[in-house]
Amino acid sequence: MSLRDAGPPIALVVVFGIFAVLSPDFRTISNVQNVLDAAAVLAVVTCGISFVLMTGSIDLSAPGIMGASAITVALLVANNRNDNDLGLIGVAVAVLLAAALGCLSGLALVVLKVPSFMATLGVSAVGLGVATLLFAGVQPNITDPMLEGWAVERFLGLARLTWIAVACVLLGWLVQRYSRLGRYAFAIGGAEEVLALSGVRVAPYKVAVFTMAGAFYGLAGVLVTSQLGAGLVQAGRGYDFSAITAAVVGGTLLTGGRGGILHSAVGVLLVTVLTNGLVQVGVSPYWQGGVQGLIVVAAVAAAVIPQRRRNQVTK
């Protein structure tokens, strides 16, 4: 493990240590549980976005896709709007819808050659529109005991959905390490042209990466619904930039080709610990965003400065 890879975990330990010293509330077991539970949704979103960042693209579609999936799942499981009670099938349908929206981003990128920044922004708007359409003015509240249980019931001290997030990270890591999709995603970020020269058709893999990312966002939307007990159009608001922040803090490069799921998981924890710790030590909520911003810049700067060289290209 190089110094560069070790940076974020060290930072995590240091930040955690500092807050633990500063705040007795912070170092309680229940708060650690709280931090882990709070990291769950972000972790799932970041799993998806990491693959996209690995290919060197960017993905801003999380808010829209999560909103669409949140409303969909809320309308398909037992709820107060209709008589559906599909349970896990409902969850699967929501995730599939999300994957389809992700696929749409991928297609816009490879077929229409629209830069991912715009393609995913457009898909996000489409997702929000679909969500608003399904919402139809009445909040769908879920009464499905399984989905509600995810947020409430605990296993080994952590909420079920936290374990779902852990499983997602594990799955993401396996995909990244052992699947052709994951390795090619990595390679696309490294040298896309070379893949083409080696006879690999890159386009299907790009679409697959966005589709997979969409599926992760969809699951995240389901998790948010489980937490809130209701399907919200705004379920994913703000998750786009916070997931990118988490991935970048964890050491994933925006230019692609470096980083990965485990890096991102560390980044998610770092961001969540920061958010939680700042509240615990009593920093005004107004300053919290600013302090986070500073720390992100500082974290990246600390990682970059040792490797700095003349005539380096920074975009």
Partner: protein, 334 residues
């Protein structure tokens, strides 16, 4: 963003001197695409609601677009250099707060002071980007949250009324009775910056930096200075846009412009400027900003329900980019 190894345009030898550097019909068409997209959109809106194509309505639309044009124009420079500026909207919001706070003391000088201050803040981000070698995405993402925090704290999270409207009154005038002054100012900004790029070496430095930073640096172009200058201008434009917003809303608020970030970036890309840098222009962003404004205000006004409005907005923006992007100038789309 990655190193091109072999994927160069096919014809390597250009032995035939009759091949002029003249653009083909297709290329010409691509370069007019933003304008074409604008016209088509306007036509579509007019079909949906014939009342939309009136002098009043167009006047209101261009007046509305002015802050977006200015924001997008500034950020276009950063994008041309190969970077991105995510802080423009937050900085603009902060500037509206500054404006409201400073106006009682500075009076007529406030506008200039705001532009100077935001320019300086932009420069600071540029310096951080260049000296610390942090990607601009990260620097400005950090800047975005920091500016928002500062704005929230100094304004106590609420809007500040601007009682003295004389300082911004000139922006609410109309030139020749039809063209809103704020839009004229936006046009002047685009014109002046475009001229500066065309008439000084700055233009080719900016493009060289965007296409190939290392070649530009080794070729002796002042890459770092150019980048800092781009961020400075982007900041200054955010300040000017803030003044325009204040002139419209009679108040400054810590979140006033926050929702203009993505539309501004969309305007740049819809205009056909390559988000990877090098290729593009401020004129394109002007057209892009008008397209985005028409989408933002036009769709609901002609009666598209809000859910479909968002779906249409997403679809049209993607389609517009697909139309305006000059693929011959960009090797790999990320």
């Amino acid at each position: 963003m990655s190193t091109p190894v072999l994927a160069k345009p096919a014809p390597e030898p250009a032995a035939d001197p009759t091949v002029k550097a003249r653009p083909t019909t297709g290329q010409r068409l691509t370069s007019f695409m933003p304008v074409i997209a604008l016209v088509v959109l306007l036509a579509a809106l007019t079909v949906a609601d014939p009342g939309f194509l009136s002098l009043n309505s167009l006047t209101a639309a261009v007046r509305t677009s002015a802050p977006l044009v200015v924001l997008a124009a500034g950020a276009t420079l950063v994008v041309l250099c190969g970077g991105i500026d995510l802080s423009i909207a937050a900085l603009c919001s902060l500037a509206t707060v500054f404006f409201a706070l400073w106006l009682p003391d500075l009076g007529g000088l406030t506008t200039l002071a705001i532009i100077a201050a935001t320019g300086a803040i932009g420069a600071l981000q540029g310096v951080a980007h260049v000296l610390l070698r942090i990607p601009s995405f990260i620097v400005t993402l950090g800047g975005m949250s920091i500016f928002t925090a500062i704005a929230l704290v100094i304004s106590d999270a609420g809007p500040i009324r601007v009682a003295d409207r004389d300082a911004t009154h000139w922006l609410t005038l109309y030139v020749a009775g039809v063209v809103p002054m704020s839009f004229v100012v936006a046009l002047v900004v685009v014109l002046v910056v475009s001229l500066a790029l065309a008439l000084t070496p700055l233009g080719s430095w900016v493009r060289a930096t965007g296409y190939s930073e290392s070649a530009a640096r080794l070729g002796g172009a002042p890459v770092d200075l150019v980048k800092v200058a781009a961020f400075t201008l982007s900041g200054a434009c955010a300040g000017l846009a803030a003044v325009m917003l204040v002139s419209r809303n009679f108040s400054g608020s810590p979140t006033m412009a926050d929702n203009l970030l993505l539309p501004a970036v969309a305007a740049i890309v819809v205009g056909g400027t390559a988000i990877t840098g090098g290729h593009g222009s401020l004129w394109r962003s002007l057209a892009g900003a008008l397209v985005v404004t028409l989408l933002r205000v036009g769709l609901p006004i002609v009666g598209v329900p809000s859910a479909y409005e968002q779906i249409l907005y997403g679809a049209i923006i993607v389609a517009a980019v697909a139309l305006t992007l000059d693929r011959s100038k960009v090797l790999i789309i990320k």
